[in-house]
Symmetry: C2
Subunit: 331 residues, 2 copies
DNA sequence: ATGAAAGCGCTAACAT
DNA sequence: ATGTTAGCGCTTTCAT
């Protein structure tokens, strides 16, 4: 004790401006001397706020999410919040369970990826009045706060790039569509873009695989085995696209001479490959940062935008080129 | 209320075996009806256990750590623990702060990476009697519980592989050595192995860079600009090694014809590259799992080994070959 | 600006 | 097997 009441000590540490500098000094001194570390649980119990923000993400395997999470955590830390992380490996049951856990831990706010979530999750959030925000997608219903981009439009832009290069025989390497609105939207975007030019994507032209380099390789090999083989392959993310490029190298298929390949996300390595991967750049860092800012502001009672759309950018590199014998003027 | 006392309700939920099935049913029913979610903070305050395990890691950028963390979390979840994650970007001040935060949150145990930590961290852990474990390294002092492997020996094995192929002009692409015992140990291992064959590593032959593909590229370019240029380049991890391979491809340098390259970690993509990367496989998943098991067992009062050494494995792929004109029989 | 007192939601003796 | 009773360490009215 520094000769003051517990109440004053508490104020000195939590709201220093409400305490005379002199008293504050005494308390700070004592705290230092005692190696005082506040008791988070007691604090949370008394104040009804945990200063914990939860994040529910599919997996950390994907470097893309890792970047967002990193930014999220950094930004939260600046405002005195701690990140509590839960991952679910794309399993809705685990996701529900993890969310429950975060609420149980008293999370003041929660970040989710995408719009595909068990209704029970939304119900729980409502019951506990827990603020939350969805990232990576835009919520079409407008019911949920979100910070993301239009996955479908982005995919349309990628596909158009290929169409403009004269391609008309397409293949698609997709991620698993179950419980993943990003993948479904991107896929829909590809279909939309093709249809707009009078092309249909046959089911056989779409290969669905979990995210891994090996999957991408396999899928590419499968696609190139079809005849006629595609001259352009749209991959739903960079991991799959890189796998596809690797497969081409192994199989002696020239990229983009024989086939053009596109990705989605723009991971660090995508720029370094030979050829460089044409892809849609997603602002992963900004996504994490904006989510943190959103929740911190909301918890501080500040006004916040319900939905924020972040820009994505088509990055054209060496993996795409004109269709062989194609006519760039028309598809 | 289900017509029982709070104490019974508590028991029914926490230690069901201490309650008559009939009563348990009543409580469970009421809980379901009320959408009851226990209050973590109150529970932690009363029971003096948070069921939270903290992990203090350098960064999630490195897919390698992400894998370990994933495994850590999964294994902890099986035992009813939640992972609280803190990263510090290799900054000791942030690391101290993050650790403080974890203790403040009442972490029942904490996982750290490597042995290089501010003495104040160890002091705090002792003060709060917080169990902890170091992963990725072996603690030479034997003072700290750890689960890892011998980074120096592993680096020796990699270097010997190159020596046995007849190389004697070496370059090294290192990570930053500050606050990173893994990098320092691996570097020392390379030096040891060379010295054992009468070779010295000149300071100019070692390039130190942060972990990124781009760094690896740059470093490789620098190294190959020296004359005589190395015929073998040891990279302290796969990220740098992949950057190096990419640079060679860009610069028209044949791997392994002109230069052999080795990595360390064995990331998923390392196997897929052309040429495949010769590297030291680190059991990232096992590391995370073992750390979880260690802490859970310790917290349950079970006996635990102070230090566990996990095996690493040299994976020879296409990026290494005989020294041009070298004599494999002797270095 | 500071102190006194109540209580956050739960668990853990202890008693029955 | 269940109820009674404190109390975990802090914050927050409320009073001064």
């Amino acid at each position: 004790m520094a000769g003051v009441s517990p109440a004053t000590a508490s104020r000195a540490l939590s709201t220093p401006e409400h305490v005379r500098p002199e008293t504050r000094a005494k308390v700070d001194h004592a705290a230092r001397l005692l190696d005082y570390v506040p008791h988070g649980a007691a604090r949370a119990l008394a104040s009804q706020r945990s200063r914990i923000i939860g994040a529910v993400i599919p997996t950390l395997d994907n470097a893309i999410f890792a970047n967002s999470v990193n930014a999220l955590q950094g930004t939260l830390a600046e405002s005195g919040y701690t990140l509590l992380l839960g991952s679910h490996a794309y399993d809705p049951a685990i996701e529900l369970q993890v969310t429950r856990e975060l609420i149980e831990r008293g999370a003041d706010g929660i970040v989710f990826v995408g719009t595909d979530h068990d209704p029970q999750i939304y119900r729980m959030l409502a019951t506990f009045r827990t603020p939350y925000v969805l990232i990576w997608s835009l919520d079409p219903s407008g019911q949920h706060p979100c910070i993301g981009f239009n996955n479908r439009d982005a995919a349309i832009r990628v596909t158009r790039h290929l169409l403009d290069l004269g391609h008309h025989r397409f293949g698609v390497i997709s991620g698993l569509t179950a419980h993943n609105d990003r993948v479904r939207e991107r896929l829909a975007g590809v279909r939309d873009a093709l249809r707009a030019r009078g092309l249909e994507l046959s089911p056989r032209a779409v290969v669905e695989r979990p995210y891994s380099f090996a999957s991408g390789q396999q899928a590419m090999s499968e696609l190139m085995g079809r005849k006629p083989s595609p001259t352009a392959v749209v991959c739903i993310n960079d991991v799959l696209a890189i796998g596809a490029i690797i497969e081409c190298r192994a199989a002696g298929i020239d990229v983009p001479g024989d086939v053009s390949i596109t990705g989605f996300d723009d991971m660090e390595i995508s720029a370094q490959l030979a050829p460089g991967l044409t892809t849609m750049r997603v602002p992963t860092i900004d996504l994490g940062r904006a989510a943190a800012t959103y929740l911190v502001d909301r918890l501080a009672g500040r006004e916040v935008a319900t939905c924020t759309e972040l820009p994505v950018e088509l990055v054209v590199r060496g993996s795409t080129g004109p269709a062989r014998g194609g006519n760039p003027a028309r598809a």
